[in-house]
């Protein structure tokens, strides 16, 4: 019974007419141990199909995510900037260590000349400032004398007032004298 249907299926199978479900049936049949002896060759085939199906790909695939080159270059730039930051101050320091003793004759001369010229400039500058201060002193004096003048004019006014008093006194004495003359 079973064998009959299997044989029919096998015929279809050989002609490439079986569906996937029928092939599954065949595979199940040949997976068991007691297979009709004249179908041994099929058994070998189906066994082979089953075993190869279990073969797996076990190797790891190195999947590298696509690197963003922009960010990569930013890091390089950052490193460059850091290196510059470290080395440039050092180079500046080397220059400052130059001492007076290590200068050549010519350089010293130039140094002195420069110093002299600067000293001259500064002395002239000082002269300028001192004369400026004299000027400002004079100005101040002028201002103060002006003040004194103001004071003098005020005292003059006071004097004039006093003088008017004296005048009036004189007038009254004159009147008094006249009266005494008329009485005589």
């Amino acid at each position: 019974m079973v064998l009959n249907s299997i044989e029919k299926l096998l015929e279809k199978y050989d002609n490439g007419e079986t569906s996937l479900r029928e092939e599954q049936q065949l595979k199940e049949y040949f997976a068991q141990d007691n297979v009709a002896p004249h179908l041994e060759s099929y058994k070998v085939m189906f066994q082979y199909f089953n075993t190869t199906k279990q073969e797996l790909y076990t190797k790891d695939v190195p999947l590298k995510p696509k690197k963003n080159f922009k960010y990569q270059w930013i890091s390089v730039a950052a490193v460059a900037v850091l290196m510059l930051g470290i080395f440039i101050p050092k180079m500046g320091g080397d220059k400052e260590i130059v001492t007076f003793a290590s200068l050549t004759e010519e350089e010293r001369e130039v140094y002195f000349q420069t110093k002299e010229a600067l000293a001259m400039l500064s002395s002239n500058f000082n002269k300028g400032t001192s004369s400026l201060s004299v000027l400002s002193d004079n100005f101040n004096q002028g201002a103060s004398s002006f003040n004194a003048l103001g004071l003098a004019s005020e005292s003059f006014k006071v004097g004039a007032e006093k003088a008017s008093y004296v005048n009036e006194l004189g007038n009254t004495t004159n009147k008094f004298l006249k009266n005494t003359k008329e009485n005589n």
Binding site: G16, E23, P37, S41, E55, V61
Partner: protein, 169 residues
């Protein structure tokens, strides 16, 4: 698409790719290299992957083409070592390890089949694809596929019965 998404997408069929590659290239190492190459190609084009309706069929087609190219270049470059004049006299010993050995025989017989039949047999009898899927991969119409498959199956069985006198009816 992140790496985990990609792995999830590829997981179900990477073994199928490997087995098809091994069917065509025979050597295990070659097949591993081919599979890696295919997966790397997919990974590189991961943005385009989502446009394909059937990534698996696409990958299988890629594998088929890649392996056939590989075989062509190999045949052009290297001498193939073929044991065509090799004769096995140890039939008595062979019958002892019959069961295991006959399974090996099947693979050797399949090795001798034409490439097209190899691919179709692999896809149908091992990976259990339906005819439409196979048609996509090999670019043939279903009738032609059935004919090729029938031929392959018959050849295997004939050779098996000849070499091992199996299935004496």
């Amino acid at each position: 698409m992140t790496q985990t998404d990609f792995v999830k997408l590829v997981m179900p069929f990477k073994d199928k790719v490997f087995r098809l590659a091994k069917r065509l290239l025979v050597s295990n190492e070659e097949a591993e290299d081919a599979t890696q190459e295919i997966l790397m190609k997919l990974w590189r084009n991961k943005l385009k992957i989502s446009d394909y309706k059937n990534v698996e069929a696409f990958s299988m087609t890629m594998t088929k083409n890649f392996c056939l190219d590989r075989l062509k270049s190999k045949q052009a470059q290297n001498l193939k070592i073929v044991h065509s004049n090799y004769q096995d006299n140890n039939t008595s010993l062979q019958s002892q390890v019959e069961n295991r050995d006959s399974v090996d025989w099947v693979s050797k017989i399949i090795e001798e089949l034409p490439e097209q039949q190899k691919i179709i047999l692999q896809l149908r009898d091992i990976e259990e694809y339906d005819y439409e899927e196979i048609a996509k991969v090999v670019d043939m119409n279903p009738t032609a596929i059935r004919v090729a498959l029938s031929r392959a199956r018959k050849t295997i069985r004939e050779k098996l019965t000849n070499t091992h006198s199996y299935g004496v009816k």
